[in-house]
């Protein structure tokens, strides 16, 4: 059994797929370098990322797939699930082998899997669009911390750019330690250094927040409390829509 490792980027993966075809391999597993634990009798090769090859695979897929299906495949990559590469390769093989409209072939396990996983990733994207809570800093940047299940920042950048075109903002993924920053013109990828005593969650910590920030958080919490109808209490339904792992990032759930 042979395992090919790539650098973890989407292009790295596509580049490895190119070699699968070029070298006519069928007994190769593709894995991320950083996730991989080497097995005893495993034959491991590192495959460098060659952009031109990655582009050729993408161009090939683009010819056969709609914008939506391409996005679905990309979503599987963003899921970061261990071993997901196997499904992606299975899907790509089915696409290149098949005729017109293969992505409607939900009887095929790869096609169905890609559609279903993409849906999950999409749901997480949608949740992030909902559950980002900005706090205004003294230097007029709206700042937010998140920690999504899947790596969805690349998927939400456009939504926030269109929505908040006239304000500086940062959305920082705590778990993956990178963020996106909008500078009134473009969205850039950034990394932040937090110093030890600074607690990024709480608005009164440190001297970083705008003076009106506390008032609006208080008003929002008041609103949230009053909007509840006691006679209709249903905490199970609340949890179902807003799982507890998101709560520490939500102003209204954190202080309540």
């Amino acid at each position: 059994m042979t395992t090919w490792l790539y650098d973890g980027s989407f292009d790295g993966f596509l580049s490895a797929v190119f070699d699968l075809y070029w070298q006519k391999k069928t007994d190769v597993t593709i894995r991320k370098e950083q996730d991989h634990v080497k097995g005893l009798f495993e034959n491991v090769i590192f495959m460098p990322t060659i952009m031109a090859n990655a582009d050729r695979v993408w161009a090939g897929l683009s010819k056969k797939l709609t914008e939506e299906s391409l996005q679905q495949l990309f979503c599987c990559y963003l899921s970061e699930l261990p071993g997901e590469e196997d499904h992606m390769v299975g899907f790509i093989r089915h696409v290149f082998a098949g005729g017109e409209g293969v992505t409607g072939d939900f009887g095929n396990k790869y096609v169905l899997h890609v559609a279903q996983l993409a849906r999950k990733v999409h749901r997480e994207k949608h949740r992030m669009e909902a559950f980002v809570r900005f706090q205004l800093t003294k230097d007029q940047i709206y700042y937010s911390l998140v920690s999504p299940d899947y790596n969805v920042l690349p998927l939400i950048a456009r939504h926030f750019k269109e929505r908040y075109a006239d304000q500086y903002w940062i959305i920082y993924d705590e778990r993956r330690r990178y963020g996106i920053y909008y500078n009134l013109d473009k969205v850039e990828t950034i990394r932040l250094q937090f110093n030890a005593e600074y607690d990024p969650h709480y608005h009164t910590t440190g001297n970083v927040w705008a003076p009106e920030e506390e008032l609006y958080q208080r008003l929002w919490n008041t609103y949230f409390k009053e909007a509840n109808i006691a006679g209709r209490r249903n905490p199970r339904l609340q949890l179902q829509h807003m799982p507890r792992r998101y709560w520490k990032y939500l102003t209204e759930m954190r202080l309540g």
């Binding site: 939900f106 949608h126 006239d166 909007a227 509840n228 109808i229 609340q238 759930m253």
Partner: protein
Amino acid sequence: MERIQEKLAILADAAKYDASCASSGSNRKNESKGLGNAHPGMGICHSYTADGRCVSLLKILLTNVCIYDCAYCVSRRSNDIKRAAFTVQEVVDLTINFYRRNYIEGLFLSSGIFKDPDYTMERLVRVARKLRTEHNFNGYIHLKAIPGASDELMQEAGLYADRLSVNLELPTEAGLKLLAPEKNRPAMVKPIRFLQSEIIRLEDERKVLKTVPTFMPAGQSTQVIVGAAGESDMEIMHLASRFYKQFQLKRVYYSGYVPISNDTRLPALHSQVPLMRENRLYQADWLLRFYGFEPHELLNEGHPNLDTDVDPKLSWALRNLNSFPVDINKADKMLIARVPGIGMESVRKICSARMHGQLGWDQLKQMGVQLNKARYFITCKAGALERRDLTSEQIRQQLLAQSHSKWIKAHSPQLQLF
């Protein structure tokens, strides 16, 4: 500072019984580097309160002062409560600051009627105008249209708002007479009809002129209160269906009556909110709008009320066993949509997949079909109906036995669309 918090508490509390919260279906794009974007398509719910309802808009009253005395309403003039009113600027500031922090999709502004309808409506319009013109705000705005306000004000409201609504409140004329004697149905319908005719007029103009202003792109909605005046589900759904057809309403909301007073005309203070009934009405409404059902198929003289034990589609199927079984690999799309346990998403997948090959039970299950329900009503590749000779009553009992064990595990009513 403290005062604004107190006002917010009072005026959010009074507005919360309005069921409408949707922020979808608009098409206001942020093209000028302004603030906000009201997408077409799905709305965003930003939070969920302890009652499990979503928060997507800042839903408040401009004031809870009211010259009327509708029995079911907390703001009614005879109710002994604290009164408050926001200034136009306060509402604008709250909206902008909540929106910038991504708490909300926009504003839903309703109001008690102070002085007279025009005076009230004029203020609502002023809030919307300020948001759009001074703050370049492209988020969602839903205004309550006040019956009795002048056409000019309605017209202007439509230019700034994404959606306007007039609540019908009670499903029957008799209920209205009993609980809101100062109101009448024709006065409520008049603004709905006027706005509808404006939408049509501007659509026609748009066909010939390039620069016709946006006019309430998310259309009109309304709300009816359920369980306050003894009406049947049939009366409610027929009313809803009539309004969908006649005025192309985008949504009808059903709001289970929350007891708020000791008035003997109303359900007693400690009585339960009819949550299950409300949920069934939403499911039935869904079937009308997306599944091609006619109201009389779901509710008629023989069945004036929705079954609380099983969902309306299943209930219909059990009464119409002669329409089944449906062959998954051949049947028309809208016929498959009528099978209990199969939602529109699965219908789409089935129709697409069967062009590539015959489908069997396993694949249906993989696609998300609820086979526990659907299996009584379909045939597919792997052969015939599982239990061909069951009566409706037997199917019903079997399904109830399953769902009751689920029910007991959950300890709580399951309030979802299928």
